[in-house]
Amino acid sequence: MNRLAFFEWIVAVRFMREGLMQTLLIILGVGLGGGVIVFMSALLSGLQTNVVRRTLNYQAPIVILPPDQVARPLRATEGAEIAAQVQPRSQRLRSIDQWQKIRDEVERMPDVVAVTPIVAGPGFVLRGDASKSVTITGIEPETYFRVIALDEKIIAGRFDVGPLDIIIGTELAKDLGANVGDKFRLATASGATATLTAIGIFDFGNKGVNERNVYVALRSAQNLLDLVGGASAINVKVRDPFTAETIAETIRAGTDLQVESWIVTNAQFFTAMRAQILTNTLIRIFVGLTVALGIASVLVVSVIQKSKEIGILRAMGASRGQVLRVFLIQGGAMALAGSVLGSLLAWTFLVIWRGVARNPDGTPMFIVQIEPSLFAIAMVAATVVGILAAAAPARRAARLDPVVAMRS
């Protein structure tokens, strides 16, 4: 007998070792159940983190835009309108009124990490016979890179874009057969053109973005898009992307600006994510219940099998509390052992998954973080479930009348 162990533990361990087959089967059962839960949770959180990261790679959590222009109906007198139908106005590219003031105010808000003005509009990149339509984004490099990590996505060249420079995506570079150092003409619908030198090529991991986005200095874009001194949007980065909508509402309050959070612009993704979380929770609950019922049923049988022994323990002076704890410990210990096994299984599955789930080019489909805290949580939760599942059989054992138990 281990000298560090105590009465209840010693008896519980011997009881479990005595019914070794039962014990091993239930540990295996708990292990499989726990493994599924841990694996699924890791996968789901990996998927979410990955999608969130990829989306926020090239999209600011909050974008502030000028208000839409509305056609005002003509009125003869109050309440009487001259035109029965009013056609909505087409929206031309405009600057946000007093964008510097708004930028400074938003920057002072808590939870806002960085703010940057941009000018974005349509244009064409022309090189030789090729012309490609693109979205021109004029940026202030020093603030822009704090919102969108474009600087980290540069795969060739530099990123400190000057008045005569342009940064293009990999797809566009391929389409135009261009490389760092080549010159392009950038034209807009207003007729403005500029000749710019490609100083960098970026890869956001998204074909559309790599094909359509080009980045120039803010001043160049203002000239090209006829918005001198203006900013067509303000991008805002917040500390926790999931609070973006709340912060967006705060900014929106009291102004007529359009403030869009990525949560609203990616509504479909969030709906899908919520559905996944719900499914995962349901699976966890049912697997947890199955595990608990398994443990409870093994212990119910054990109490019946061991009623004589329980009777003699009670006759010898073991208290009801001691007998109760003997069975609670069994429930907790089997669940803990099962969750350790489950964690090992889940870890193995995750390692295999990392190896198998790859894109055609061999890069990982998405990165699954193996978080030690997830295993710790799983073990604690399983132990609690095990003890709870043992409660009913343990109470039954503790209440056994020693005389009746020994006679049975």
């Binding site: 162990a5 105590f6 009465f7 009777g311 323990l313 009670r314 002076g317 208290s319 009801r320 020994m406």
Partner: protein, 236 residues
């Protein structure tokens, strides 16, 4: 000095049902320290019920029960369990050893239950007791790996682990052949003589009863005879 006193102890089963039956009809009994008494009687006479009441496994419906002069009527379940563990040792017809434990560990169990953690002292106590019942060579055998007579002797050693003042034995040799039964009785008698532990032994066997100092006969829940045995047989 009195180890046990019963006055007017009554026990009924099925109270409040049509099957209500009184098993013990007012038992008065005193056992002095160091007595070695046999309790005899036909089946159904209430011997086991009486033993359960004395052993604090069952409460009487009426009457009073004193162990070493202490009234037990007012004690709650936890106190009774504690008192049972400390003052009373049980030997049953069946050994009820814990099969998952060795002989030595089975003997340690009552001390372990009382103290919580194993230590060298309780191991030594258990080893001494096993030595007294002649089982030192088998002390590390599992309880299932020894013979019936040996199992019963382990059970006796276990009953003595807490140095109880009173040992209650319910047909301790009922399941054993004559030779083993005599061996078990020898052990009980030897312990009684060396440690002055009081014994109350239920037996059907008149031959074994003749080895006791006092013979109490129970018939239909009443003590019908209670006499000293003048011709105690010392060896089986």
């Amino acid at each position: 000095m009195e180890t046990l006193r019963l006055s007017g102890v009554r026990k009924s089963y099925g109270i409040g049902t049509p099957l209500e039956v009184e098993v013990l009809h007012g038992i008065d009994l005193v056992l002095e320290r160091g007595e070695f008494a046999a309790l005899m009687g036909p089946s159904g006479s209430g011997k086991t019920t009486l033993l359960n009441v004395i052993g604090l496994l069952d409460r009487p419906n009426a009457g009073r029960l004193f162990i070493e002069g202490r009234e037990t009527g007012g004690l709650d379940e936890a106190d009774l369990t504690r008192m049972r563990g400390r003052s009373i040792g049980f030997v049953f017809q069946y050994h009820y050893l814990l099969p998952a434990f060795t002989a030595l560990e089975n003997v340690m169990m009552p001390i372990l239950a009382a103290r919580g953690r194993p230590d060298d002292e309780m191991r030594a106590t258990a080893a001494t007791l096993l030595d007294r019942v002649g089982l030192t060579p088998w002390r590390d055998n599992k309880a299932t790996e020894i013979s019936g007579g040996q199992q019963q002797r382990v059970a006796i050693a276990r009953a003595l682990a807490m140095k109880p003042v009173l040992v209650l034995a319910d047909e301790p040799s009922g399941n054993l052949d004559t030779q083993s039964a005599d061996g078990v009785f020898d052990v009980l008698r030897a312990i009684n003589e060396t440690s002055q532990t009081t014994f109350l032994i239920v037996t059907h066997d008149p031959r074994l009863a003749q080895r006791c100092d006092r013979i109490i006969e129970l018939v239909d829940g009443r003590i019908v005879s209670d006499r000293k045995n003048p011709n105690v047989v010392r060896r089986g």
